[in-house]
Point group: C2
C-alpha cells in the first residue's frame, strides 16, 4: 500500500521537496493545465511560468523539457486509461463492441489537449522521451485488450496490437489537427475494426 500522502513532485525514494519548491511545483502544474487547455500542447512555457508567478528558471528546474511537464499532467490520466482497458477485457462483450468502446476511449484521451496526440505518437518510439513510459503503458493496455480478443478467436490472425495502436494514434492525430466530427472519427475507427474482426460486418 502506497502512503496516501504520496503526491505529485514528491520524490520516489529521494529526500522530500522543500515546502516552497512543492508550492511552486503545484502552481506550475496548475498554470500548465490552464495554458495547455487554452493554447494546446505547444503553448509558451514562459507564459506558464508567468501565470504561475515564478521565474522561467524555476519552471525549467522542475521540468527540464516540455515533455516532462506533459508527463506530469498525464499522471492520473494514464492510469484511468489503463483501468478502462481492464474493464473492457472484464466485461466480456463481443469483439466489435469491445473495440468500439476501447478505441473511442483511446482517441478521446489522446486528443485531450490539442497537439498532445502528435507528441504521444512521436514518443512511442523514442526511448529517450520523458513520456516514453506513458506511451508504453498505453500500448500495454491496448495490447491487453487486443490479445484478449485474439484469444477468444474473434480477430483475424496476424493482427499485431502495435499496428492497431498506431492506427488509432493516427486517427487521433488527424482528428486533432483538422476539425473532424465525432461521427467521422467513429466511421474511421469502424473501418479499422472491420479490418481486424472476423465476424461478418453488416452489408
Amino acid at each position: 500500500m502506497v502512503p496516501v500522502t504520496e503526491q505529485a513532485g514528491t520524490s520516489d525514494g529521494a529526500r522530500p521537496m522543500r515546502a516552497d519548491a512543492r508550492r511552486n511545483y503545484e502552481k506550475i502544474v496548475a498554470a500548465a493545465r490552464e495554458v495547455f487547455a487554452e493554447r494546446g500542447a505547444e503553448g509558451s512555457l514562459d507564459e506558464i511560468a508567468r501565470r504561475a508567478g515564478v521565474g522561467p528558471g524555476t519552471l525549467y528546474r522542475h521540468f527540464p523539457t516540455r515533455e516532462d511537464l506533459i508527463d506530469e499532467l498525464m499522471r492520473d490520466w494514464t492510469s484511468r486509461v489503463v483501468a478502462d482497458s481492464d474493464n473492457a477485457v472484464a466485461a466480456g462483450r463481443p469483439a466489435r463492441e469491445t473495440l468500439v468502446r476501447w478505441f473511442d476511449d483511446l482517441v478521446r484521451h489522446l486528443t485531450l489537449h490539442r497537439g498532445a496526440a502528435a507528441k504521444l505518437s512521436a514518443a512511442m518510439d523514442d526511448r529517450s522521451s520523458p513520456i516514453f513510459r506513458k506511451c508504453q503503458q498505453l500500448a500495454d493496455a491496448n495490447e491487453r485488450v487486443v490479445r484478449h480478443l485474439a484469444e477468444t478467436g474473434e480477430l483475424r490472425r496476424g493482427v499485431e496490437p502495435r499496428h492497431l495502436m498506431r492506427l488509432v494514434a493516427g486517427v487521433a492525430v488527424v482528428a486533432d489537427a483538422a476539425a473532424v466530427t465525432d461521427e467521422e472519427i467513429a466511421a474511421m475507427l469502424g473501418i479499422v475494426i472491420d479490418g481486424v474482426v472476423l465476424d461478418p460486418a453488416p452489408s
Copy 2:
C-alpha cells in the same frame, strides 16, 4: 497548348516577373528543397534565405507563408500523384491490389519531407491554407479510385472516400513522426484495406 516557356513563378495571366525577381525566386526554391530535405518541413526560413543568398524580405515577398513555399515544391509532385490514380483506375486490377498500390503511393508521397504529412493533413480542412487546393487534388484523386472500386461492387457499402483519405493520412503522419518500417506501414494499410474490401481476406 500552354507555352513551354511557362515557368515557376511566372504569373498566371499577370505581367511577367522581372528578370532579377525570377532569378531569386528560383534560388529560393532550390535552397528550400535543400533545407526541407535536410531538416524537414519545419526548417528555418531565414536559413533558406541565407542559402539562397537573398534577404529575408525577398523570401517573404515571394512566399508570404511557409505553406506557399511548400506549395511550390509540390508543384509537379501533385500531378504525378493524380496520374498514379488514373493508372490505378485504368489498370482494372482487383480492389485489394489496387488499394495496396494506391495507398502505398499516397503514403510515400505524403512523407516526402519530414513534417509534410502533418501539414498536408491539417490543411485538408483549412480553406484558407495555401496548400488547400493541393490537398483537394489529392483527395479528388483518392475519391476517383475509391468510387471506381465501389462501382465494381468490391467495397463494402457506406465506405466514404474521405474517411479512407484521412486514415491513410494518419498512417503517413505517424510513420513520419516515429521511425516506422515499410513492413509496418504495409501492415497498417493492410488492416485498413481489409476494413473496406468485400472479398474474403486470407485467414
